[in-house]
Symmetry: C2
Subunit: 345 residues, 2 copies
């Protein structure tokens, strides 16, 4: 099965995406892989599998590789004697900006390329933590209380300390701080506003139980990973999350009751259905007093959360076979024709 | 001032967009205009101003015109001896799919082209009527009660008749029906589901007062049009709305009290702020028992609602001068460098 891994992007998670792509190269041995790198200036490059090493990109060696452009149905490489087309299904593996904000989804839809990844609307609801709250609210999924702050005008925070401060639109813990008392607030806000003009504040729940569940829907059926209880620290900072993106070892199933697993799955389904189709996502949940709260949606989880699936390659195949092209409206000129006729032209 | 009018698109409102573009050609006499047509197969064509007639497109004459492609900062025309670039600010005038669903926004952002129009997230909240309700709810703007139906599974409608049935993601009244009793429901649902797998149902308020207000925010200040009380019929069907898109005559200001005008503006601001920046939008409101309800957001109104502005060209100039490029994260390879150093490579 052919699959094009699209990675890189003009994103604070650019390096993480490279690590994810290298990890998937090792995991997807049954696939015929093509690697397309999106540089920070939004040029696409075709990368040979043998060059899929982190230093290739940090040293800028990719700039000597063939450039690709988007054409209908494919990435195209222009040569002296015509062009080659790479028309396999794309795995959108650009974490953060570009990949998760809806840009890449829109490009691939516009050029009629099938892809694994969130569509435009799903991207908006997962990329911006404020809109994830709206989604939860509309679909009856519990989420932690939050307050929204904007750079140029923000009121006082009314939540009691400790709180957690997060840029609205960044993943991988970038710009995130736990604030234990007001004396540390300004510094935390400065750090968060450095990355985004909008910030959200939530209660920080010390020692809360956290569970991750990945999955997707294909042919109207849900496919779930095992439930993982992630390694617990105050919160995972960027460096730790970074290492997390290179994970490829199957993890141990968390010790959760059947009842809790069902609850987690039911919440996952509420979030996913009629919105995230086409994507393999990971939902990170908190459990407080036996109630499930959605913490975060990762619509392009690090190395696609391969380590949570018993049969990762088989799962991806099911998802790929369920993908559809973006619908296009058929255009006719009935009104213009009828007006032209009425005018006798 | 240079401005590129981008119109057409693979949309049920393709013809309407052509009409809008022709109307703006007549209105924007102080601008140096370039016309770029997006065909239904997503090919871009450069159209000479003198060819800006509806029949050019209905007869397919555009297919002989120069093709354009997107490059960093511009639409580019390849010639035998190099390429010409059209790098003016773009006015996204593609109504409906492509233009209003976030696709064109994403493309222009990705290629670092400044444009008038909703950004990706604003598109999602205005294009899909379900998400407009979520926006209203989160920002304290009243909206009519609604129920959501999905094609493959939907429960009975509990709203009392008469109701109005609308595809979730179409504008210009396409697929919309007023249903006075249950006997007409199936036909209305079939019509709506023909266009979208999701449908919303709202109470139909006969004889409700309707007011339209257009505007934008530039340099942290709001600029409003006059308030219009649109011509009232049961609801405007496609053909009437179609004619509406060619409007260029300044309309009369509705007779509204200062108090109501302030209320309309306050609601507009709540909807717009920190979301629609960069776009000139028209909000259509209902007034019921002196309370303002948002009916619909038009993020790319027909012919840009030029007829509602005292000084349309001056207003557009203010907006254009306030536009910014999409932000791009700066990429560095600190982590990869540090790992490489640790490995002694």
């Amino acid at each position: 099965m052919k699959l094009t891994i699209l990675f890189g992007g003009a994103s604070f998670e650019h390096e993480i995406s490279i690590v994810s792509a290298i990890t998937l190269k090792q995991k997807l041995t049954q696939f015929e892989l093509t690697f397309v790198f999106c540089d920070q200036d939004h040029t696409f490059y075709l990368v040979e599998a043998s060059k899929m090493k982190a230093v290739t990109f940090s040293k800028g060696e990719h700039k000597k590789m063939p450039k690709l452009s988007l054409v209908n149905g494919a990435f195209s490489q222009k040569g002296l004697f015509g062009s080659s087309e790479y028309n396999g299904t794309v795995l959108n593996l650009i974490h953060g900006a570009d990949g998760e904000d809806g840009s890449i989804a829109a490009l691939l839809d516009f050029y009629s390329i099938k892809y694994i990844g969130p569509r435009i609307d799903a991207s908006v609801f997962s990329y911006d933590k404020r809109y994830t709250k709206w989604l939860c609210n509309a679909r009856g999924v519990k989420a932690l209380q939050h307050e929204e702050l904007n750079l140029k005008e923000h009121s006082n925070i009314t939540l009691p300390y400790p709180i957690i401060v997060k840029p609205a639109r960044l993943g991988s813990s970038i710009g995130v701080s736990v604030v234990k008392d007001e004396s540390k607030l300004d510094y935390a806000l400065d750090s968060a506003f450095e990355f985004d003009g909008s910030v959200i504040v939530e209660p920080f729940l010390d020692g809360v139980k956290e569970y991750n569940l990945a999955g997707f829907r294909a042919n109207e059926k849900f496919y779930f990973s095992i439930v993982e209880e992630p390694q617990k620290e105050e919160f995972l900072d960027f460096e730790k999350k970074y290492m997390d993106f290179s994970r490829s070892e199957q993890v141990l199933k968390a010790e959760v009751s059947k009842e809790l697993e069902s609850k987690l799955r039911a919440n996952f389904e509420k979030v996913y259905k009629n919105l995230f189709e086409g994507a393999l996502i990971r939902c990170d949940f908190f459990v407080v007093n036996n109630e499930v709260y959605l913490n975060e949606i990762n619509p392009i989880p690090g190395s696609m959360a391969n380590y949570l699936f018993d049969d990762f390659q088989g799962s991806l195949e099911i998802l790929i076979n369920s993908l559809v092209h973006a619908k296009r409206a058929k255009v006719n000129y009935d009104y213009i024709h009828s007006i032209s006729r009425a005018k006798g032209k």
